[in-house]
């Protein structure tokens, strides 16, 4: 019986807290563990980023061509790895804080960073898959031309 009047409130106001879905103890525990793993992945990505920076530095000091390779390496992998790592780090720390201090605004920000992570990685995956597909089509086309000439 207690649920009968609840749908009447649905969708009213943009930021009005909704009463139906609750952050129960089990949800909180799951969120805390998720944030710990996210922090682990963020740290791992930052370590990988550190290795790449280290390699790029040695490439840069090895000579003029090495400098170019180093800059490309650092620029490309830096951008591709830094943002996911940063988004994971922010999601982990903000979610942890939001749950620990029971702060809705901070928790909201945490979920926003999880969304940003998915947006970034998803777009990256689509771009990479398109790139592979383009190479495949180009390769088939070139191979077709080569065999066609014989």
């Amino acid at each position: 019986m207690e649920d009968m009047n609840q749908p009447l409130d649905s969708g009213i106001g943009s930021n009005v807290p909704e009463q139906r879905l609750q952050f129960t103890e089990s949800v909180r525990a799951d969120l805390i563990e998720t944030s710990k793993w996210a922090m682990f992945f963020a740290v791992l990505l930052f370590i990988v980023l550190g290795f790449i920076a280290f390699g790029a530095f040695f490439a840069m000091v090895s000579g003029p061509s090495g400098f170019f390779v180093g800059v490309v390496l650092l620029g490309l992998y830096g951008v591709l790895l830094f943002f996911p790592a940063w988004y994971y780090y922010k999601f982990a720390s903000l979610t942890r804080q939001g749950v620990d201090f029971e702060n809705n605004q901070i928790l909201d920000e945490g979920f926003a960073y999880l969304r940003r992570f998915y947006n970034f990685v998803g777009t990256l995956v689509i771009v990479l898959l398109s790139f592979y597909l383009l190479i495949l089509v180009f390769g088939l086309f070139t191979a077709g031309n080569l065999f066609g000439n014989f």
Binding site: P17, Q22, T24, D30, V99
Partner: protein
């Protein structure tokens, strides 16, 4: 009145602070769409790897035999089953990861659509499982990679010492 009082008194005090807002719902909706995309990609990858796993060992063995590396061909012949099992285990783990991802996405969407607390809790349980299995898989991969590197290094140095006379 008693019923209402009971209803409020039963609610844990901590639930007063954290509440689901519209912003959260919008973020979860986008996240769940991407999660479905990733899980579908994962399932396609698993299907491809499953097919490849049965073709990989005979292919490697033929290549090694044809190129005259009989020792490697014999090694694949004896250890091939174990390598294939390890490969299939990795494929099974990737399948589980994709499954948890898909279940997180579908449950969070169902929770938002029908205001289902059960689906809401299941969604976060699945996201936790997804992160947990992903993390353990990553740790095991790193450890195996380090062991493999050390083993390959010692084998190579052993071979170098054997020929160095």
């Amino acid at each position: 009145m008693e019923v209402f009082d009971n209803q409020f008194s039963q609610a844990p005090h901590s639930e007063q602070g954290l509440q689901v807002t519209r912003n959260m719902r919008l973020n979860w909706l986008t996240t769940s769409k991407w999660a479905i995309f990733f899980s579908v990609l994962g399932f396609i990858y698993v299907a491809l790897m499953f097919i490849v796993s049965f073709a990989l060992m005979p292919m490697l063995q033929t290549i090694m035999s044809m190129s005259g590396q009989d020792a490697m061909a014999r090694l694949i012949d004896s250890a091939g089953v174990w390598i294939m099992l390890l490969f299939l285990l990795a494929v099974a783990v990737i399948f589980l990861i994709s499954l948890f991802h898909l279940r997180f996405a579908s449950n969070i969407q169902r929770a938002m659509q029908y205001d289902s607390q059960q689906a809401f809790e299941s969604a976060w349980r699945n996201l936790r499982n997804y992160f947990r299995i992903n993390g353990i898989f990553t740790i095991v991969s790193i450890v195996l990679y380090i062991i493999g590197t050390i083993a390959a290094g010692s084998i190579l140095s052993g071979m170098g010492m054997g020929t160095d006379f």
